[in-house]
Amino acid sequence: MPRFILQRLLQGLLVLFVLVTISFFLIQALPGDAFVKERKMSEEAIQIQKERFHMDKSWAVQYVHYIKRLVFYRDLGVSPKKNRQVAEILQQSFPPSVILGLNALLIACAIGIPLGVFSAVNKNTWFDYLSMGFAMVGICIAAFIIGPLLQTFVAMKIPALKVAGWDNPLDILLPAITLGLAPAAYLARLTRGGMLEILSQDYVRTARAKGVPYLTIIRRHTLRGGLLPTVAFLGPAFAGLISGSFVVETIFQVPGMGRHFINGAVDRDLYLLLGCVLYYGFLIVILNLVSDIVQALLNPRLRDTI
């Protein structure tokens, strides 16, 4: 087990390194730079600024410099556009993204897992068809459709809910629902599939033949095995929720990382963009690892292999 974790951590470092390298050169290859749209600045001022950010040097020099600062000082650099430490910007915008992602995941689990379990237990009944139909709707209806709909038909009707903003705790509700709907649908489908497979096992039949009450069978014999695919999905899903929340953050004006990423891409803000990419990559690596470990803990068959 420790060997497995170490191996995966090293692999994660490799992933991050490749990610930063690809992104660095992709962003450098973008035409224009952070100062191209600054009409107010004189040529000389821009030149001074460029020297300050080493933008007058070659890509390779800039790259080595960036990696050095990153590895030895854990320094993400300064955003040329905003003239602020990237780490500081991201530390401010990271919590809203994580809180939004966590709440969305909670909503997704609260809807998706029970729906999947009940569908599997009541296979091929109207409940099953209805909830799987709902799941399909959840997969197909995009956040940018459901978001504006919720704003208009829910937020404008209920005084306690705001159309957009991020001031009091209730403001989390609508963006989290918007973001959580798709994963709720996936979770419902996955959970149903996992439960169905376990419910058809011989030991479940044996338990029923013994006369164990059906609810006890579900609780004691099938939930743990049936939820394995669900657990496997949770880690990547959470990472996806945080790195995929640009749309929801835009619609509901959540002061999260998505905004900085999109602005960074449009403004050619190299260091801010790289910082966002690193945060996203780091999250994905860690969460994938955690989900693998949790899976191994739940599934004895996997425990021996790692």
């Binding site: 692999q11 994660g12 490799l14 992933v15 490749v18 990610l19 690809i22 992104s23 992709l26 962003i27 290859a29 973008l30 035409p31 224009g32 296979k123 399909m136 709707v137 997969i139 197909c140 209806i141 995009a142 940018f144 459709i145 978001g147 504006p148 709909l149 704003q151 208009t152 038909f153 404008m156 599939g193 169905l196 497979e197 058809s200 990472a239 996806g240 790195s243 995929g244 640009f246 749309v247 835009t250 619609i251 990423f261 999109i262 891409a265 449009v266 963009l273 966002c276 990419v277 996203y280 990559g281 994905i284 690596v285 994938n288």
Partner: protein
Amino acid sequence: MSHSEFEKGTSLWRDAWHRLRQNKVAVASGIFLSVMLVLCFVVAWYCQNPNEQNLVNKFASPGAEHWLGTDQMGRDLLSRILYGGQLSLVVGLIATAVAFCIGILYGAVAGYSGSRIDAFMMRIVDVLYAIPFLVLVILLQQLLSSYANEAADWIVATLEIKESTTIDNIRRVANIIPLLIAISALGWLTLARITRAQVLALKEQEFTQAAKSLGLPPMRILLRHIIPNTLGPSIIYVTLTIPAFIMYEATLSFLGLGIKAPNSSWGVLIKDGANYMETQPMLLILPGLFFTTTLFAFNFLGDGLRDALDPKAAKD
């Protein structure tokens, strides 16, 4: 043995087709998609000009002249939706086709080569897999579109094109191609994994051994004997990839990073509609309805195909 007797052996596909036809939801989805394709690619040409503005008649309610009303610039909403659908569907279909080819070839070569080459190739896939997809698509799309715009300017300048409609068309293409490349350049990973897993199993089977012992070159074995046998699961995945790619296109366009005017797609229409949500919710709801139902049909068709091609999974 005559040629036709060989053909009767393809019962896997015939069985699957039979099972698919029994699945009412899948059949309905298939019909719906055909209708949608005809609407967007045939009927659209007979509709009103989607770019004809009429500022006197903006936000018109549905009526005899404009079946679904008009938008903020007095353009006919129905023809905007149908023309927008063309791009959404084209992006989804072409990007999937490209990703399909890359993924199958990559996975097949990796699986068939085995050992070190396989390990190396799949490690690349693992690394790319761990990268947030939309993040990289956005960066790649931004990069490519700047080059595409330069290329468009260059073509217009060197060929000395004067007609504004031709220039317009060149710019439209320059807007679409980067998006297509960006999505398909990164969308093949899952397919490569699926194909590789299958090839690993297939290359141990007797018919591959027979082909090998006959001295066929590896590429021919791959293309003629192995890849055709991997197509079943891949096709299921393809029908589920098309809606995913349509969704990516719409997401990027909604963020203002993908399809831009004068081009339009369902994502662009939904984005425009979102601005007038308070007073004219139909401007978002109607394109959203076309968009969502199309994704719906693709997903149901994909589910149906999976049940048809993989009856073991379907018994649930």
